[in-house]
Symmetry: D2
């Protein structure tokens, strides 16, 4: 289960890059989990659906109508930005695209929960983030890291 | 998407009844969403899996290892009892088995969110709860109500 | 710390009854915690402020501007109805006025968390709810129960 | 209302620095809100109490017994790390001490919610963070920023 995080509004180019991640993950047997809204989230879900994969969207709102059209399983939380925590906790690895502070908080929570984070030109937060240059490279690395034994959880407040 | 709610610890008889609901829902193309733990939740998920269905567990804890073995998609929230709200919001209809106050709160939230609630010997909260006598009757009614147009959401605090 | 729960919209008579609870609690050294919005919550906070007490409002929204004017300490959660859980957990005892399913869920959570619940014509959920006829009687009993040793927490899902 | 965020375990030196912030805020009429646990949170609350101020602790756990001894108003959420969002939303300005990814996520949420963030040797996330060298300088700047008109909220996912 791979989380894809990034801006809710973004360029077509970035959305297409997110689609490449979604497609790669689906083609290799992975499930995409995301925030269920637009931009990067929509791109990733679309790519996964085009490859016949399963997609999960954990929404900030309490209305399933807010999900983008490529989400199979909609979890309408009504918890606002706090849903980012659940997106990250549900995943075995996280692929992060450029985004603002919502994305930064997802990356922070992912590191806090000791999930592997693979960035495609996203926030540079230090050596624990795996930096990559292309979506395919990111997706491949995320799938590889997701398959590894998770590190023991540890309080890193 | 049908939510099944009820006690986390229960008799074998009740767990088997929950399995019947899960099986019926899966056989008729539905997805089971539940709290992912033991008792009624485990029964419902087991029944759905035995019929080849898809199961979603929205956990109170932040560790996916706490999910019962019949859950396909684990959402470890770390939000404690507040995850009940998400279980209910994710569903088109709710089947409620006997349980204590956690179950009562799930039924209350379901009514608050204007989701149809079908009870099998659960809390009697008035006419808005559909009372049934058997799991199959409950599952059938829940699937029927889930297929209907939802009532418009309304503040009923 | 006494929680007052009930409808966000209510008659003037009920709001005045909630004020009586707030005033009694403040006069006897207690703090009022509530959902911070209108109706019963506003009545309780107003009564407490008129008696020089302290009031806490845990809002469903993420904007402090949504609090009623009698709230001293505003906690804007952005968690929607899930904030009800926090209102109840923050309290030593809960006074419940008539309300719909939001109120019912707060009562259910209070029972789940093993907090004493005193009802003034609210949902009748069994013997664990202390039924009273007047606001003063309810406030007096809530303050008394709040001062007692809490029962050990227990899983009652 | 000033939030103080930072590591739950830290050196005595850092805890004393957090105390200086708490004391300054209380002496100048502010209220301290924090996560209610140890380390930086305990330091800030202790300083505020020593100066006769009011302190609020929004706990990750559901037990008020987990609060440090300097917290006046305990909000036991049971929401785990998601409570960081509420700490930040409750504040007019945030003072950030060194911490790991929990602290980073609080800073990210503060920026997301467009709250002013004053850092004392904390994460360097760009120009929107106000960098200071001493606790007193940080507290003074936070109180000044808290008194200013808040920027309009804006989606910055």
């Amino acid at each position: 289960m791979i989380a894809v995080v990034g801006a809710g509004k973004c360029s077509k180019k970035l959305r297409d890059m997110a689609s490449e991640v979604g497609r790669y993950v689906a083609e290799h047997g992975g499930v995409i989990v995301c925030g269920g809204m637009g931009g990067i989230m929509e791109g990733a879900a679309r790519g996964a659906k085009e490859a016949g994969g399963l997609t999960i969207g954990i929404l900030p709102t309490d209305s399933r109508d807010d999900a983008n059209e490529y989400i199979d399983i909609v979890i309408p939380t009504g918890f606002g930005e706090a849903r980012n925590i659940m997106v990250v906790r549900s995943a075995d690895a996280v692929v992060a695209f450029p985004g603002k502070y919502g994305t930064l908080s997802e990356m922070a929570f992912a590191l806090h929960a000791r999930k592997p984070v693979v960035a495609v030109n996203a926030w540079r937060l230090g050596e624990e983030i795996h930096q990559t240059q292309t979506p395919i490279e990111a997706a491949e690395l995320a799938m590889k890291l997701a398959a590894e034994e998770p590190a023991p959880a540890e309080d890193s407040e």
